[in-house]
Symmetry: none
Amino acid sequence: MTDNNKKPPGRPRSVKSHQAMLRATLELLAEVGFDALSIEAIAARAGVGKSTIYRRYTCKEDLIADAIENIREDVAIPDTGNLWGDIDALIQSAAQITLNPLGRQTVATIVSSASSHPEFAQIYWKKYLQPRRQAFSVVLERAKARNEIQADLDPCLIFDIMSGIMLYSLIFQPTTESWEAYVRRALALVLKETSI
Amino acid sequence: MTDNNKKPPGRPRSVKSHQAMLRATLELLAEVGFDALSIEAIAARAGVGKSTIYRRYTCKEDLIADAIENIREDVAIPDTGNLWGDIDALIQSAAQITLNPLGRQTVATIVSSASSHPEFAQIYWKKYLQPRRQAFSVVLERAKARNEIQADLDPCLIFDIMSGIMLYSLIFQPTTESWEAYVRRALALVLKETSI
Amino acid sequence: MTDNNKKPPGRPRSVKSHQAMLRATLELLAEVGFDALSIEAIAARAGVGKSTIYRRYTCKEDLIADAIENIREDVAIPDTGNLWGDIDALIQSAAQITLNPLGRQTVATIVSSASSHPEFAQIYWKKYLQPRRQAFSVVLERAKARNEIQADLDPCLIFDIMSGIMLYSLIFQPTTESWEAYVRRALALVLKETSI
Amino acid sequence: MTDNNKKPPGRPRSVKSHQAMLRATLELLAEVGFDALSIEAIAARAGVGKSTIYRRYTCKEDLIADAIENIREDVAIPDTGNLWGDIDALIQSAAQITLNPLGRQTVATIVSSASSHPEFAQIYWKKYLQPRRQAFSVVLERAKARNEIQADLDPCLIFDIMSGIMLYSLIFQPTTESWEAYVRRALALVLKETSI
DNA sequence: CGGTAAGCGAGACGGTACGTCGCGTCTTAAG
DNA sequence: CTTAAGACGCGACGTACCGTCTCGCTTACCG
């Protein structure tokens, strides 16, 4: 057995308190944003002592990472039977997540934390991005099997390019097109379909 | 002239103090990072009163933006006579700026601020990214004239894709390749040279 | 000149705030007692930031000492023309100060602090007890001149004995007599009047 | 028998734990003093759960009172056959107890607690001071029988005066003489020996 | 040349949040 | 039914900065 089946002594940590603080974190994150988010406010909102938070997390970033992770849904692999159907589904799903106040705030938080805290970036990479990169590979392999794209395309690189342009255009809004259309145009360029 | 050429009454603002605070800001940004950067510390390091800073900038972001802007060099348009020569020059120059402690910190600061402060993102977009996008267009137009790439490629989109992957791979380090090589590979894919 | 007549640079400390915190300290001392007295509560009551208190005092004891000192009246030397008239005046005055809630609390605070903080004891000794010992000497010297007591009595020792029994009987209440009567009886014993 | 000789059901309270906590209390009292003495530290030092302490004592004062009481020796009535021999023995014994770090701390604790907690003062009065006052009476009665002092002196009052000056001079150090000499001088004054 | 107006450094101000510590209570499993 | 362990909600600690506000000075121009 890898994990010791012996319980640690003493009163076990309260699941209820833990959930309350994660929920309070997300609420406040959406309400006031990352910078103005204080542990004190989270504790107050959750009806929990500050020490109960500090017992579990050493810094704000860890807490937020955990809170975000807890609401993540499973990776969904679209399968419309057609490459652009799948891609549009992915883009729509991304748009749904990011193009609303809480989503924008969450993205800002993640990018903000990740760019100044490499450890956070790595956690996020492993727990969120990598699984999605795997899912995206499946989609592309199916497209290859259908001869919709060239067989030598590197799915990982394409996923990264897609994520990059998504992020970039979310932050800097470089175009007057809709975000979805811009991302779609970038992908079209990258995938240089054989049909063209 | 719309703006009055009359000088305002009273003592003029001290150029020396202004430069001292910009310099101190950059030093501390590199030393302690964006989050731990305090106006108090900047004032102390610059030998300047806090109010002298607040008279010029209303928030930390403005000050940092100005400080970063002050060290920006002019946009250099490489012209090696060959597309990949130009691109490699651009990548090298970007690497030089970003792949060192101050550079990383600067990028983190920009991304961090931009993602949570859309106004800042717009300022940065107009003052920094757009001029570079123009310069990049020149490079691509020259390549088109040399028939190195297809004539219908949108230089703006390509620049944005390049910037996106640069940013993304700087933050999340998705590959074991060097940053430069990864960016180069992404560009190669996007430009789908006719010569291949 | 011993004190430098140059003012220190920067904004001078607020007299109003200082007085507010001293007043709040005394109020709360009487209301909740020494142990339960928190800097936080003093700051809140005084409408003052905690840092404004910490800028002036390094510990609770210093603040309390200063607050108590600020309400001290001048030493009054009674002169009724007769030893026991003077002594009764002194005892009455002491009773008035100590035999009420605020007085008890103040004495408890002083004794408590003094017994665990020798520095505090010394301050209190110098600023409060010693002047009163001097005043008491004057009273006894007058009594000697009137031949009411023996000339070789040490006024300091007698003052200390009186203070000691006052303190002791205030804390431990060793008798059913009134506090004043007990103190008076002790003094009578010590002074062993010649008339006996 | 009024109290039932039936043992209470369940596990009996651990004598070992109880002794450990009393010992830890005294050690820490001497080491860090009354104010900085925390139940948490006592429990840790004694290797005992906090609740085991709270089951026995409701407040810190009770615990400390019990701990101090546990090291009290029986009242010793000196009998050197001569008043000043007896008195010097008493003063020496008091000096031995009070004039060392633990002793000073203990006195400070007692005075501190007693002055702010009248209940504690009464407990201490009954359990410690009153027995000693009785013992002192015996010494003085013997002196009266030997005609060393006047027959009408009130032994209780004299004991209280002695205790008062002991306490007072311990706290405020009003003289450059040794503590013992000062106490002796005060007693000499009070006893106004007939032999002088 | 003397006034007036703003900028300057210094630093105190009322605040807010920090992360830590100890409180007294509680909830476990072990004895 | 007690014990050791340790988590809980709570509240105060003393610190660090926030952005604002006096201070006494300096630097400019303007009448």
